[in-house]
């Protein structure tokens, strides 16, 4: 999962002068936006939409660029060995537990956090991430290649410690080759080495009231439980096929994942949840519900060798987290299996 807090990003200004394609996209987006605006005004005036849906905070709107990079469509995947690798990478991305069975310890797939197959702007799209690596990451204090970065996803977000192999794919594994082939395809003609509009999850400043899991529990019940379940364990269909991902507990991301931090989860939630209702939650609600979700126990941080307190000092000082803190009388971070 992407980690916006590590690399502060300014997302309001396109990083390069608009190209002809970008101008076309801007015009199309402006026209589309106008239509949506008219429909929206009509809907409100006719009482179709109650006021609650109109609470998008002005700051979030202002921070949203009007046009984003467009990755190539699936139909543009070429034939031949290149295309085969891209398709294998896409399959890994969409259905990680079945396609990287030995290296995933939970039911999550890449696409759970990188929406629309890694194409969706502001859901940490792959077309943006691709050109930023190699990159120095404070998380491990060294230059990370894209392979290193994906290894981190397996280690933390896919909780590889609970997989049959006990860890992420080893360096040089075909899983990395194929996933990178897919990312490289999505980033076709994207700039390299610059922050692109729509990359990462747009940061949401901590609101005046801070964050509170008790308030967050109410936000969760009203906005999230329909899909993720009252108990946050997601839902599977009658065959056991995942429909909605679990948000805590043994089948979710572990304590080392970026998403386990309240600021990162709030950023993801604010722009992307509920699915299809961008902007429904206020900044305050996004922070509160992120705090609620991340105040539950989840698989242990695989970097922990000594005590939770010790690991909290070594690895959990970078963001807002309940790791190593006592919530409701319980020390969080011990892990669940």
């Amino acid at each position: 999962m992407s980690d916006p807090s590590e690399t502060p990003r300014e997302r309001t200004v396109p990083a390069s002068p608009p190209s002809r394609g970008l101008i076309r996209d801007l015009l199309l987006a402006a026209a589309g936006g106008l239509a949506v605006l008219i429909l929206g005004l009509l809907a409100v005036s006719l009482g179709w939409i109650d006021g609650r849906r109109e609470r998008t905070s002005p700051s979030a709107d202002a921070a949203r660029p009007v046009a984003y990079f467009q990755p190539p469509p699936p139909s543009a995947i070429p034939d031949g060995p290149d295309g085969d690798a891209i398709r294998r990478g896409e399959a890994l991305f969409m259905n990680t537990p079945a396609n990287a069975a030995a290296f995933t310890g939970n039911s999550l797939s890449c696409v759970n956090c990188h929406l629309d197959g890694g194409r969706r702007a502001n859901a940490s799209p792959m077309w943006s991430a691709w050109g930023l690596y190699p990159m120095f990451r404070a998380k491990n204090g060294r230059i990370n290649t894209m392979e290193d970065r994906i290894m981190g996803c397996f280690t933390f977000s896919m909780n590889a410690q609970a997989s049959s192999s006990g860890g992420p794919p080893p360096a040089g594994h075909d899983v990395y080759r194929d996933l990178q082939a897919y990312m490289h395809f999505l980033a076709t003609a994207a700039p390299s080495g610059v922050e692109m509009p729509g990359g990462g999850y747009p940061k949401v400043a901590q609101p005046a009231q801070g964050f509170d899991p008790v308030r967050g529990a109410r936000v969760f019940a009203a906005n999230c439980a329909l899909c993720h379940g009252e108990d946050g364990q997601g839902r599977v269909n009658a065959n056991g096929q995942p429909v909605f991902p679990p948000l805590w507990g043994p089948q979710s991301y572990n304590w080392g994942a970026g998403m386990a931090r309240i600021n990162t989860a709030a950023a993801f939630i604010k722009t992307n949840m509920p699915l299809g209702q961008t902007g429904r939650l206020s900044d305050q609600e996004a922070w509160d519900v992120a705090a609620f979700i991340n105040s539950h126990e989840r698989p242990k941080d695989p970097r922990q060798t000594g005590s939770v307190e010790d690991n909290a000092r070594r690895n959990h000082t970078g963001g807002k987290t309940y790791y190593g803190q006592v919530v409701n009388g319980r020390l969080l971070g011990g892990g669940v299996r």
Partner: protein, 337 residues
């Protein structure tokens, strides 16, 4: 039945949401398509025509779910094409499957329900052994008073079966009820009774029923499995419907239908009904009602917002696509975690 061209296209349209585009299935839920014993033409044909419910051993793993039969959705040629595609792509076979053999198997299968687990299938090929036994669900106790309401009615409470059919299969534009979640059906009856959902006939029926009766009827219909009787009839663009159902259109902020209503439209939770095999006139009318605000009461207003982003062409496309799917096979939602 509408003929779909080549085996790959049939697979993408009919098989890939469960077995996945690369045939690997879903870990712990949907079998992979690489077990040689299942790649025999007679076995493949038998499974595709009738479906399977109950435990089945594939490779070294046992799966306990349900696959619908496609006898009503696919022609002999379609089945021959997709079985040939599966054999050649993942079964290592050169020889295809002959449509004539499919026609003979279809004649034999006429009227038969799904195969009862892997053990039943060994009658087609002993090479499938060993297979787990099928014990079947416990027979459901059905209250005579509930059956009387369904078949005879009582005053204002018209007999349910007079419109929704003896098996709850519906008949356009009357909706199919069989296999919808009990919570969802009960909530609709309550809404009709309270005037929150508007339909003259159903309001009268629901008001004439007591709360306990409404719940009992909801439980009854949720456990019914009935083959599809829906037929695409709105001249919708089914390829467009398939795209919107499987991938959505994020350029218009439209999430995939199946992102919430579950893979293959088999339902996504107690308040997220199955869509597969629903009658197209009903589906399209409901999408219009959501979009216009005539139908409300969806948690958070999500369905109203998403429906409002669909064009009239989109609605017909989606409704016709869903009408062409086999019905949800398993009627009692399970949550295994």
């Amino acid at each position: 039945m509408e003929k779909i061209s080549g085996g790959e296209a049939v697979f993408a349209a009919a098989c890939s949401t469960c077995h996945q585009p690369n045939g690997v299935g879903v870990r712990g839920a949907v079998p992979p398509l690489n077990d040689p014993a299942f790649m025999e033409p007679a076995v493949l044909t038998a499974v595709i025509l009738r479906g399977v419910e109950g435990p089945i051993r594939v490779g070294r793993e046992t799966f306990d779910g349900a696959m619908p039969g496609f006898a009503g959705q696919l022609t002999d040629q379609d089945i021959a094409n997709v079985a040939s595609y599966v054999r050649r792509t993942w079964g290592g076979a050169d020889a295809g499957v002959d449509p004539g053999a499919v026609a003979r198997a279809r004649a034999q299968a006429a009227g038969a329900g799904p195969w009862r687990g892997g053990r039943d299938l060994t009658r087609v090929s002993p090479a499938l052994l060993p297979q787990p036994a099928w014990s079947g669900p416990a027979p459901l106790p059905v209250d005579g008073a509930v059956l009387a309401l369904i078949n005879e009615g009582r005053g204002e409470a018209l007999a349910c079966s007079s419109c929704h059919g003896p098996q709850g299969q519906g008949g356009d534009p009357i909706p199919r009820l069989a296999g919808l979640p009990a919570d969802y059906i009960a909530a609709q009856l309550d809404a009709f009774a309270a005037g929150r959902r508007r339909n003259d006939q159903m309001s009268g029926v629901a008001r004439a029923l007591g709360p306990t009766e409404r719940r009992a009827l909801a439980d009854y219909y949720s456990r019914l499995a009935a083959p599809s009787t829906a037929t695409p009839s709105l001249d919708g663009d089914r390829a467009l419907g398939e795209r919107l159902a499987l991938r959505g259109d994020w350029s218009r902020d439209i999430p995939a239908c199946f992102a919430c209503h579950g893979p293959s439209g088999f339902g996504g939770g107690p308040r997220l009904p199955a869509l597969a095999a629903q009658h197209p006139g009903y589906t399209a009318a409901q999408l219009s009602a959501w979009a216009s605000g005539q139908r409300t009461g969806d948690p958070g207003g999500l369905m109203g917002e998403v429906a409002g982003r669909l064009s009239e062409q989109d609605r017909r496309a989606i409704a016709d696509y869903l009408a062409g799917l086999p019905s949800s096979p398993a009627t009692v939602p399970r949550n295994r975690r």
